[in-house]
Symmetry: C2
Subunit: 359 residues, 2 copies
């Protein structure tokens, strides 16, 4: 069976080796006669998976002991609320940079909790770029500065991160582990797993320990970071199978040579597609401005709605999956996360060239 | 490979046929060349899984169109907060019956939201029984009456449900789908999936439509039932693989003959163990009072701590998994959810008899 040419934006392609490993042991993990799904979350066998995933992530991203690695549920969407509920304490301001729909949603949830401010936004530019920001404009007593490091819908990505006196918080759902980062620059990093880390239903939070504090009295236990921190993310039953897959994906990254190797491969993959766009004499137009282009999501349109439709239709016939742009913006989008093989991206580049020639 | 004799309290045994089906298609679901985990949650292939799971549950429990079936994350623990946050509106009282640690936790979260009252409790009786309640004692303007239908830790289970003028809410995490119920008796039923429905990381909520309303302004979007109801539980990315397994488990229940057949089998399984306890001349003591015994979790102790330890040790050697009582109460517990085969329970009954004879 041939694997699909999967360019889904998330849930997305997983490494074939990871799926094969999971398949092989699905009814008998580690000689237990049980699936990972059937293990008690308090058992030694599962503990090795749970702690192993945390340790492997710590190693791959060189996360110091000043940070906790928390495993949660609810997706990035729940983090949009948990962040202000835990960190937007009385008298403080949550600062947001808007670079797309996900930042907007994060801001919307924060507004329910306390005062916020928009430090910068590229909305008027149809979110084609990462705005330049002036840190000196951070007014008042800031609780944190929130950014979305990669914008799946618009195809833009932060290249360098802002530095200020308040904790930097990044929604890295769609580019975590795609490149080396200096975790010390951040107060908190969060990511839904379903792009670069594993299946949906799992959220990873990397949080500076000194930001974790006793929550306000009325905060639901499940919305307090302290609950997860105090209980090794085992206060209640975690999504054990998703965490097992996270561990397999992280082990796969290590076996490929680590984040540095993955980063180079991602640059190579992105270049294959952006080169086609740039050399197409405007047949393909990239949505993102070149200096803000994402290496994870390549967004583009064709000369007309009709041509775009024809392209997507023919692509689908040829076996390319998930090339439709997000329903909110249309156009085309190729999501080329870590697990998408170079060869699949090369096939897409060839298809794009072929389609242009025949048009 | 022999399957383990799995008596885990949850995550727990899954039907072997379900795991085999999941294994077979793990890299290629429905001819897509992708795992279910790799499908877009907006794709037609996934939609069939998602809606299919909801429809199958509706059919198996004969849930009328007056109810919504919602698929969430966060476990029952998050429901402890979502219920009062959505339903404990101003001026109303949340009524709770305490039958164990989980009801206590549910109450604790409700207290953060608004006024509560304890209608009845069997705490002074070490939670050995389901207390009798006097509905006429429901004072004030009740928002709802909350019960835990089965108490995993203490091994008790409600046999009939109370009826009153306010909505009845039940945490059915550990006995949903184990027997026929009349859903019309309830305002809301919720269940973490990891006992009778599937893997951990998925919560099912069956909610009367007329209880779903526009939430208070400040409620996080992800904590509003309306968000899930309005968006077919697809507001954000759901735990797609867990929902796929839910569908497989539900299809398995149907293929076994439906809930009625499962219910009879569960009674038979529970009788095997309770008979050993009752005929052991007090060698084995059941924790629960006979009229409150759970058909899902059989809890018992031996004449001494030492004997209990020896029993658990030897049981483990013979391949029985998960017989330790909950860390909060000790003793022994055999969890015999839907997927635990009669034969495994029979083997445990034989082992218990053998152990008594040799002692």
């Amino acid at each position: 069976m041939t694997r699909a040419l999967n360019f889904n934006a998330g849930p997305a392609a997983l490494p074939e080796a990871v799926l094969q490993e999971a398949q092989k042991h699905l009814l008998n993990f580690n000689g237990t006669g049980m699936s990972v799904m059937e293990l008690s979350h308090r058992s030694k066998d599962y503990e090795e998976v749970h702690v192993g995933a945390q340790q492997q992530l710590r190693k791959l991203l060189a996360i110091s002991e000043k940070y906790e690695i928390l495993l949660l549920q609810g997706g990035a969407s729940l983090q949009f609320s948990m962040i202000p509920l835990n960190l937007l304490t009385k008298g403080k301001i949550g600062h947001y940079v808007l670079t797309g729909s996900w930042s907007e949603k994060a801001l919307k949830e924060a507004k329910k909790v306390g005062p916020t401010s928009i430090l910068a936004s590229s909305k008027e530019d149809q979110y084609r770029s990462i705005p330049s920001i002036k840190i000196e404009q951070l007014e008042g007593d800031g609780a944190y500065l929130h950014i979305t490091s990669n914008n799946t819908i618009y195809g833009t990505e932060w290249k360098t991160y802002p530095s200020s006196s308040i904790p930097l918080i990044a929604d890295m759902s769609s580019d975590i582990l795609s490149k080396r980062i200096n975790v010390d620059q951040f107060g908190l990093i969060y990511a839904g797993a379903q792009k670069n880390l594993g299946p949906s239903g799992l959220t990873v939070v990397i949080m500076k320990k000194d930001l974790i504090s006793t929550p306000p009295d009325h905060l639901p236990t499940m919305l307090s970071y302290e609950t997860y921190s105090k209980n090794q993310s085992l206060y209640n039953t975690p999504p054990t199978f998703a965490i097992y897959l996270l561990k397999l994906v992280l082990d796969w990254v290590e076996s490929e040579g680590g984040v540095e190797v993955i980063e180079k491969r991602n640059q190579e993959k992105a270049k294959l597609l952006y080169d086609v766009i740039d050399k197409s004499d405007s047949f393909y137009s990239g949505h993102a401005k070149p200096d803000s282009r994402s290496n994870m999501n390549v967004t583009f349109t064709l000369p007309s709605e009709e041509k775009t439709k024809e392209f997507l239709h023919l692509a689908q016939e040829k076996g390319f999956v998930g090339l439709n742009g997000h329903r909110s913006v249309g156009g085309c989008r190729a999501s080329i996360y870590n697990a998408v093989p170079v060869d699949h991206v090369a096939q897409l580049a060839e298809f794009m060239k072929w389609f242009q020639v025949r048009s």
